[in-house]
């Protein structure tokens, strides 16, 4: 039986058998979609996060705190009007949701859980043991503290945050018991989990390896000055460098839009601005980045992917050859950007492949955005956002509306 033991962090810290998890043992579903008690609970969590000076200075914590405020949750509820108040059907939870959470984004497990919880689902979250940063542990503490409040004890049967080393028996058990699995962590994690037993009706919502791009209007880059320019650099940094350019939504390729000479000048301006910014802001071991990038440049050169390189080892630009396959355009991270000049959005057909997730943009006109949307009427591009918002969580993710996915529609005559 010891083989089925795992570590539980929430609702309280304990070593427990996977068969004993409260989410699996509990029977009654008390919460309705967007239940006022759920909203109060999450709003309470928001207050605890935003009120904690030790963590609220971290941008991702502040963002989470704001996202959990009552007003924000109500706004999402209004946006789900079609789902929640549909004359054709009633909406009900899907049941028990098993979340396999990513280790790279400290707060992602919370977003994953909150969306499911808002629909009234029970949640088992497997997180990585490496998520032991103080601000993450502090999130568990806050959840546990809140769960001790009398009005929120029922949520103890709705949230189990756990971790365990690779163990097929536990994964089989939890997968079989779940009505839905949210599998973050890319292709290899999806493959691993799809190899486990599950119930025939267990629904998988999977988040595969994706790549993301950025489109910058060259003339707008050149005319951008002062505060707006500083803000652009900061936004670029947040999108690309927060996760060392290794998030699915972090841009790998930059398309410079406009006439060639403007593209050229825009690159010079952007390079200069970012290099200065990064020297002051980006904390990483630059020697290892230098080796990493030189190695990748050699690989890319020998594979015939790139024509030339420029920039320094904090911000490296690689000019792509004319015909390149977007599917394979994932750099080595840490500020390694492929680029291409493009006269019209229409010409960026390379973006229309299933692998492309996010296209972030700066300076696009209304018409440009329409053209971009036309490209998305194909197999790729799931998100089109402003530069600076690439990593922002939204319940529309990877082509799913997660509220939809995590609910059942009940037909009643």
């Amino acid at each position: 039986m010891n083989a089925l033991k795992l570590n539980q962090y929430t609702p309280h810290s304990v070593s427990i058998l996977c068969t004993e998890l409260s989410c699996l043992v509990a029977k009654n579903y008390d919460l309705r979609p967007f239940d006022s008690r759920t909203i109060d609970f999450l709003d309470g969590l928001s207050k605890l996060i935003l009120g904690d000076k030790a963590i609220n200075r971290r941008p991702e914590m502040a963002a989470l705190g704001f996202w959990l405020r009552k007003a924000q949750l109500k706004k999402m509820m209004v946006e789900q009007e079609q789902l929640l108040n549909n004359p054709q059907f009633k909406v009900a939870p899907i049941g028990k949701v098993f979340h396999i959470c990513p280790a790279n984004v400290d707060t992602m497990f919370m977003y994953s859980m909150v969306v499911a919880l808002l629909m009234g689902n029970r949640n088992i979250l497997r997180i990585s043991k490496r998520m032991d940063a103080p601000h993450v542990l502090s999130l568990f503490d806050k959840l546990n503290l809140l769960l001790e409040a009398e009005e929120f004890t029922l949520f103890k049967d709705y949230i189990n945050i756990i971790s365990y080393d690779h163990n097929a028996d536990i994964s089989n058990y939890l997968s079989t018991g779940a009505n839905a699995r949210l599998i973050w962590g890319g292709d290899s994690t999806i493959k691993t989990f799809q190899s486990f037993e599950k119930a025939p009706r267990t629904k998988d919502i999977v988040f595969a390896d994706r790549i993301s791009m950025m489109i910058l209007d060259s003339e707008k880059i050149l005319s951008c000055e002062g505060k707006a320019w500083d803000e652009l650099l900061r936004n670029f940094y947040n999108d690309a460098y927060t996760f060392d350019q290794m998030g699915c939504s972090s841009p790998q390729t930059i398309y410079f839009l406009g006439l060639h000479q403007y593209c050229e000048q825009a690159r010079i301006k952007l390079s200069k601005g970012l290099q200065e910014f990064l020297l002051a802001e980006y904390e990483n071991d630059v020697s290892s980045l230098a080796s990493l990038k030189l190695n990748r440049m050699v690989d890319d050169a020998l594979e015939g992917k790139i024509l030339n390189q420029s920039g320094n080892n904090l911000f490296k630009l690689l000019q792509l050859v004319e015909i390149s396959d977007s599917n394979s355009l994932h750099g080595c991270g840490g500020g390694y950007f492929y680029f291409k000049d493009c006269n019209k959005i229409k010409d960026m057909v390379a973006l229309n492949v299933p692998k492309v997730q996010t296209v972030s943009y700066f300076g696009l006109s209304h018409d440009d955005k329409n053209e971009l949307m036309k490209l998305a009427y194909g197999e790729g591009i799931d998100r089109i956002v402003k530069v600076g918002n690439a990593l922002n969580f939204h319940y529309i993710w990877d082509g799913y509306n997660l509220f939809q996915e995590l609910s059942r529609k009940v037909y009643i005559e």
């Binding site: 790279n104 994690t189 390896d209 020697s287 230098a290 440049m297």
Partner: protein
């Protein structure tokens, strides 16, 4: 100007100005040779370093990362002319470097090594104590680096004695027997740095052996010792205390540039021989670092003809300590190794399970 001209004068004898002049001619020639004979090298130069071929100084020479020899087949000869393939040591699961030698390059390597070693050890073959096991030649996994190191130096010794038995356990009787036999005499000791520490410095003896006339040469890196808070100064001091051993020569070399050995002298710094050089590069933009500023170590060697390994960027971090003014009269640049660039740990979304 030929590389033999630099091999045949006493090593460490050229001052930097002389050497720069001679090396620039040789390296330009080598660069052109590799551009003409290795498509891969040409592609790297064109796409990564631009088409500029007008070198004003050695600093303008393109540099290939050492790892490139792991991921790509890089050579400037026809397959039929391959005389020997060297492989780097790699721990299990890592890919290994493959270095393709023809007869000429192999000859240059062995001549070069002999010039450097004999500069330190002298022309006579000395009784040689090897701080390793003969089994290192049989073990395919660990052979490459350690075995090659021993094989490379064995010709400079006689009466070769290995202090570890076939199971890599220290054989005290053998060690004591050798030290007893040659106590106080000129002997040649060789081993990997960590093993010298572990099996010579830390060995227990009933009496104090006198190694004041012995010459110790060691290599292989400091990582394991730095983990135990043993740096070069401590290493030297402890050996002096224990054996009165003073002639200690650490050296820095790699399978990607065999023969091109950077040798330590009494001051504890590594020196570039006549036919090789070192450039310290700023990791941010690869600009050249001045004396005293640490950076990634680029190694330049006039030996590699059969493969484009004449200018390499290592993943080692070092600092230039001076030029032409070393104690003991060795000319040219001298430097120190500070460590190795960490493996970049960049977290991705594909990052959840099994980790």
């Amino acid at each position: 100007m030929k590389v033999d001209d630099l091999l045949n004068v006493p090593q460490f004898s050229l001052d930097q100005a002389e050497k720069d002049k001679a090396m620039l001619v040789l390296m330009k020639g080598l660069h052109e040779h590799h551009v003409a004979n290795s498509v891969a090298y040409k592609e790297i130069c064109t796409r990564v370093f631009g088409t500029k071929v007008d070198f004003k100084t050695l600093e303008d020479l393109p540099f290939i990362p050492v790892s490139a020899f792991k991921n790509h087949q890089l050579m400037s000869i026809n397959e039929g002319d391959i005389f020997k393939v060297l492989t780097s040591s790699g721990t299990t699961g890592q890919s290994v470097s493959r270095i393709y030698l023809d007869k000429d390059t192999a000859r240059l390597q062995s001549v070069a090594l002999s010039k450097i070693i004999s500069h330190v050890v002298g022309p006579q073959r000395l009784p040689m104590l090897v701080i390793d096991s003969k089994a290192v030649f049989e073990n395919k996994l660990s052979f490459s680096a350690r075995g090659a190191g021993i094989l490379g130096l064995a010709p400079f010794g006689k009466d070769h004695t290995y202090v570890l038995n076939e199971n890599f356990e220290p054989d005290e009787a053998v060690l004591k027997g050798f030290l007893e036999k040659y106590d106080g005499q000129r002997i040649f000791i060789f081993g990997f740095t960590f093993m010298v520490w572990q099996f010579l410095q830390k060995a227990n003896f009933d009496k104090k052996y006198d190694l004041s006339n012995a010459i110790l040469m060691h290599s292989g890196g400091w990582k394991k010792l730095i983990d135990r808070a043993v740096d070069n100064a401590t290493f030297r001091l402890k050996l002096k205390e224990k054996f009165n051993l003073e002639h200690i020569y650490n050296y820095y070399g790699m399978v990607e540039q065999v023969g091109s050995v950077f040798m330590e002298n009494q001051n504890g710094y590594l020196h570039a021989p006549n036919f090789a050089d070192v450039i310290i590069r700023n990791p941010v933009d690869f600009s050249v670092q001045p004396i005293g500023q640490p950076g990634l170590i680029q190694v330049i060697s006039a030996l590699p003809i059969s493969y484009p390994g004449h200018s390499l960027l290592t993943e080692d971090i070092g600092v230039l300590e001076g030029v032409d003014d070393s104690q003991g009269g060795w000319k040219g640049k001298y430097f120190r190794i500070l460590g190795r660039a960490k493996k970049a740990e960049l977290r991705g979304c594909s990052d959840t399970f099994n980790k």
